[in-house]
């Protein structure tokens, strides 16, 4: 029942099709000599086959089409009710306007890829910095939904109000 410990994570990843070539080669070499790990590999693969949902049928695809339309309608409904929805700070509006001016025509037109050499885009990209995700998530009330009520934080309460 127990696999060689060095390989047990790789065996699960193999069942998920997530090994890189080097990992795969290393694991396959081991599996060719270790029956216990081969059994583990088969058991992991079997349980993931069971856990995987069936692919959506045509009927399901049909029933879930039109998300863009539905979401837009809902968005407009909310905007109508909460007129402050699009109110933005001056700083943000300026930043957004720059991004739109630089990038939106390329994206919304015939959608050619933004040239990597584009000086403005490169500048914008260079200025970008990874924020502290956990702070942002908890600001948005999305971090501890399992542990707490989804309306626990003030920010999330606001989100819930928007969600009604």
């Amino acid at each position: 029942m127990t696999a060689c410990q060095d390989f047990d994570v790789l065996i699960s990843l193999r069942a998920a099709g997530a090994l890189d070539p080097e990992e795969s080669a290393r694991l396959e070499a081991h599996l060719s000599t270790c029956a216990a790990c081969r059994a583990e590999a088969e058991a992991d693969a079997a349980v993931l086959r069971l856990a995987k949902l069936p692919a959506p049928t045509d009927a399901e695809r049909q029933a879930t089409s039109g998300i863009v339309k539905g979401a837009l309608a809902e968005l407009h409904r909310r905007e109508g009710r909460a007129s402050s929805w699009k109110r933005t700070t001056a700083a943000f509006a300026a930043a957004a306007a720059i991004l739109v001016a630089v990038l939106a025509p390329a994206v919304l037109g015939r959608r050619p890829a933004v040239p990597p050499e584009d000086a403005s885009a490169v500048t914008a990209a260079a200025a970008w910095q990874e924020p502290d995700l956990d702070t942002l998530w908890s600001d948005a009330g999305l971090l501890d939904d399992d542990a707490t009520s989804s309306a626990d934080t003030a920010v999330d309460a606001a989100l819930v109000a928007v969600d009604l």
Binding site: L53, T57, E60, A71, A104, A121, L159
Partner: protein, 214 residues
């Protein structure tokens, strides 16, 4: 782990596996679309939804009772993710999180809460839709029924996994996201995501073994 470590992790990730970490052309397009949407461009909104709807549906359908339920959930995910993106951008461009990362995070949370709030009895979703896509009229063979029952139990067991394991497992087997993207969406390391996946697999095996025992 500190944010600095996380950034370090991402910057050393090989570019082939870089999905959500760095600033790719696709990512710049996404930022431009989000910015355009936030100043009122509906086309940008539509484009962002179209680019991501398959992924969002793949995440929420495990928690939905019907396809219509899944669609409704997916729409709420988009609206809430836009709201979250707007709030984060208000703090300035430096606080901006890639929109797709918001989507993944919101989708797994909202779907799970939907399930928790709306459903006390765990029922297999999409149960009536035949795997082959047609309407099944012939009675299923006994071994097929046994298989379906095992699949149903497995879906229950997935929903009962500890939160992190469930998130990582479903983002992999439902949304088929690379582990690098799963990790960045959940703000954990790629290695932690892989270990969680392994633990989830083991937990499901244990659940299955326990139920098969007479």
């Amino acid at each position: 782990m500190t944010p600095a470590n996380r950034m370090d992790d991402e910057s050393h990730r090989p570019s082939l596996r870089l999905v959500a970490g760095g600033v790719t052309p696709a990512r710049r397009e996404e930022e431009a679309l989000v910015a355009a949407f936030l100043v009122g461009d509906d086309d940008a909104f539509g484009e962002l939804v179209r680019r991501n709807e398959v992924m969002v549906l793949a995440i929420v359908r495990r928690y939905a009772q019907t396809p219509e339920d899944a669609k409704d959930l997916a729409q709420r995910v988009f609206l809430r993710a836009f709201e979250a993106a707007r709030r984060s951008l208000r703090k300035g461009p430096r606080a901006a999180v890639p929109f797709r990362r918001w989507l993944v995070r919101v989708a797994v949370n909202l779907a799970k809460n939907h399930r928790r709030d709306g459903l006390r009895i765990v029922r297999a979703p999409l149960e009536e839709l035949d795997r082959s896509g047609g309407v099944s009229t012939a009675p299923a063979a006994p071994d097929v029924l046994v298989l379906r029952e095992r699949e149903r139990r497995m879906r229950e067991a997935v929903l009962l996994l500890p939160r992190r394991q469930r998130e990582v497992l479903t983002l992999r087997i439902d949304a088929e996201l690379p582990f690098a993207e799963i990790a960045s969406s959940l703000a954990i390391t790629e290695n932690a995501a892989k270990v969680s996946f392994h633990h989830a697999t083991r937990a499901l095996r244990a659940a299955l073994a326990g139920e098969d025992r007479p």
